[in-house]
């Protein structure tokens, strides 16, 4: 009280926070826990209270050089050390390095009897001793409420708790207090009445036999904080919290293009393929070749020397590798080269956030340029649409901000409307390639078309495609009077046309022959007429000459006659 009165004269300082180092938590809390204050972490059994507190201490000691004290009431330090070893925390080592002080306060009610007035000075002495021993900045109590079962005088306990929180505050120790969740209240013994700066509620629930962990900051006095329920995960690297609301449409875009791995498909996308960092949705019915299309993409990316991550919810790595080998795509060699990370797990194996976090972690570890998730629709098993939708949104956002080209495979139910993906994520994707079966004349044929592709003049043709021994080949569509023909009807149509063409050729040849003959006969006629003409001309020339000679002769004769008459 005195310090508050003193402080009121000065300008109020915003609440200082210290980072916990827990991935995601500092983001949602706007910087961490309130510095020098006590935070309650409450929740039901097995919700991860102790884990969170210990991670706060361990990360404080490891990352921020802030030693910590663990006051354990329920488990011995050995038990705790064993429990958190699975998270990769070696608290015994930290204790040996004097960065962590572990104290186990055994308060077995069975061997304690009470006689008269008492207080908890012993705990204070131990705490002070521990804080001084390591120069602690962080303290955790797990679980202070255990004292309620050991000591019957609750008046004393409550007074001592008040004293304890004041004591901690006076020393500027940032404290985490774990507390069991009570009926209709945050904690069983109403600890939140004393500590009201920050209350974090953890929840562990199961729905459809799948567990889901949630974290919510119920209260954080004097600061802005995320108020949503955030999914979190406890795995071999501790707690990770996934901020739901980090969806910001501000990612950088690339003009780079990456091949889809199918030359003919690239041709449909301006001849260049997908945009780098875009999300591609490959939707199709069962057996329409979705995995082959995505495997082609992976193959092409690995050939370019890019790292790929293939997350499979349907088939094991070896099964996919074997199947793809039959169409000429060797995925194993990329795995061996370390370019391809192929992870497969059952969609029902975990809850939705676990999937997301696992994918996040994989991406962080592998740092891929390309990611394939095959198929995202399998995540629907045991999850409702809304959650999958929000999860995929977060995932896509994450991938886009990381500049990763992502291919999502979506299985659409046969018989239904094909252009409606079950999870309705199509609006989130940049390129949507639809694979479909066309059933005609007793056979099924695969067709592909680009339903949309943002930012490019894509082909709007429906193309038939074939899965051959050397990958996927697209066949130019046959558009006849009866519509698009595929498969054998296309072949028969083509054969028919071929026959007609041959027939036409034959006809032409015959006509040409005939014309040639006629030309030749005409030419012969022309020759004979010309010969006749020549003869006529010769005759006419002869007549002229004869006539001329006769004229000359007559002249000559007349001269001779005149000479003979002797005239002049």
């Amino acid at each position: 009280m005195a310090s508050r009165a003193k402080r009121s004269g000065r300008k109020p300082q915003p609440l200082e926070k210290i980072p916990t180092g827990i991935p995601g938590f500092d983001e949602i809390s706007g910087g961490g826990l309130p510095k020098g204050r006590t935070t309650i972490v409450c929740g039901g059994p097995g919700c991860g209270k102790t884990m969170m507190g210990i991670e706060f201490l361990v990360r404080g000691a490891q990352q921020f050089n802030e030693p910590g004290v663990l006051m354990a009431f329920e488990e011995t330090p050995e038990d705790i050390a064993t429990n958190v070893a699975s998270l990769g925390f070696d608290i015994q080592d930290l204790a040996d390095k004097r960065k962590l002080f572990l104290d186990f306060l055994s308060v077995e009610p069975s061997d304690i009897s009470e006689s008269g007035d008492y207080d908890l000075e012993g705990m204070f002495i131990r705490l002070e001793h521990a804080v001084e021993a390591v120069g602690a900045k962080r303290v955790m109590f797990d679980t202070l409420e255990a004292l309620f079962s050991s000591f019957s005088n609750t008046v004393v306990l409550r007074a001592e708790f008040r004293r304890l929180f004041r004591w901690l505050k006076d020393r500027g120790l940032t404290t985490i207090l774990t507390a069991e969740r009570g009926e209709g209240a945050l904690t069983r013994y109403g600890l939140e009445e004393y500590v009201s700066d920050c209350v974090i509620l953890l929840d562990h629930r199961t729905r459809d036999q799948i567990s889901a962990r949630r974290l919510r900051i119920v209260k954080y006095r004097g600061t802005k904080h995320g108020a949503d329920e955030y999914p979190f995960l406890i795995d071999e690297r501790g707690i990770s919290i996934l901020p739901l609301s980090s969806l910001q449409l501000q990612h950088e875009v690339s003009n780079d293009r990456v091949s889809s791995g199918i030359a003919d498909l690239d041709e449909m996308l301006e001849g260049k393929g997908y945009f780098r960092g875009s999300s591609v949705l490959i939707a199709g019915t069962a057996g329409s070749g979705k995995t082959t299309v995505s495997a082609s993409f992976v193959d092409a990316a690995c050939t370019r020397g890019e790292r790929c991550l293939y997350i499979d919810f349907e088939e094991s790595r070896h099964q996919v590798a074997r199947n793809m080998k039959s169409v000429g795509i060797d995925l194993d060699r990329w795995v061996e080269k370390g370019l391809l990370t192929h992870e497969a797990w059952r969609p029902t194996q975990f809850g939705i956030e676990m999937h997301l976090l696992r994918i996040h972690k994989l991406i962080e570890n592998v740092r891929p340029q390309c990611v394939v998730i095959d198929p995202i629709t399998n995540l629907l098993n045991g999850n409702n649409d809304k959650e999958v939708h929000s999860m995929l949104m977060r995932l896509m956002d994450f991938l886009k901000t990381s500049g990763i080209t992502a291919v999502f495979v979506s299985l659409t139910a046969g018989g239904g409307e094909l252009e409606k993906t079950t999870v309705g994520i199509s609006s989130l994707t940049d390129t949507w390639i639809l694979l479909r079966d066309l059933e005609l004349n007793g056979e099924r044929n695969r067709c592909v078309y680009v339903l949309k592709s943002r930012g490019m003049a894509h082909s709007n043709q429906l193309r038939e495609f074939k899965i051959t021994e050397r990958g996927i080949k697209l066949i130019p569509a046959y558009v006849g009077p009866t519509g698009v023909l595929t498969g054998s009807s296309r072949i028969s149509q083509e054969a028919k046309e071929k026959a007609e063409a041959i027939q036409r050729e034959l006809d032409l040849e015959r006509k040409q022959q005939e014309l040639k003959r006629r030309r030749l006969s005409l030419q012969a006629q022309v020759a004979s007429l010309e010969a006749e003409l020549g003869a006529v001309e010769k005759e006419s020339e002869g007549l002229v000459r004869e006539n001329k000679e006769r004229e000359q002769q007559l002249e000559l004769d007349r001269e001779n006659i005149a000479k003979s008459r002797g005239t002049d």
Partner: protein, 116 residues
């Protein structure tokens, strides 16, 4: 001639008692004087009493698992048992220490409670 109370100790050994206090607080002082009184009143049993001030030896609080102050620990005979408080309730101290007073001589009539 005879002592006014006959003390029946379950064990014939000496009682090893340790009283943990924290400084010269009123509660500590009350506990010390109460313990002295109890020992004096039950003089047939042999006691060995040690008073430990945790303010001077804070690490002992951890080593001996002391949370509440004052705490009286009977380390011998086993099993170890603890009594917390200023020991103002004599009867509970005796029960807690498993010292039974013979029914014939007790002022207060009580049924002896066997401690588990």
């Amino acid at each position: 001639m005879k002592p006014k109370a006959e003390i029946l100790s379950r064990s014939k050994d000496i009682l090893e008692l340790r009283l943990y206090v924290a400084g010269q607080t009123p509660k500590s002082l009350t506990a010390i004087s109460n313990l002295k009184k109890i020992c004096a009143e039950n003089s047939t049993t042999k006691y060995h009493v040690e008073v430990i001030d945790l303010v001077r030896n804070p690490s002992l609080a951890r080593d001996h698992q002391i949370v509440a102050i004052p705490t009286l620990v009977r380390s011998l005979p086993v099993p170890v048992c603890k009594i917390i408080g200023d020991l103002s309730d004599t009867e509970r101290v005796l029960v807690g220490l498993d010292i039974r007073i013979s029914k014939t001589h007790t002022k207060k009539k009580t049924k002896s409670k066997a401690k588990d």
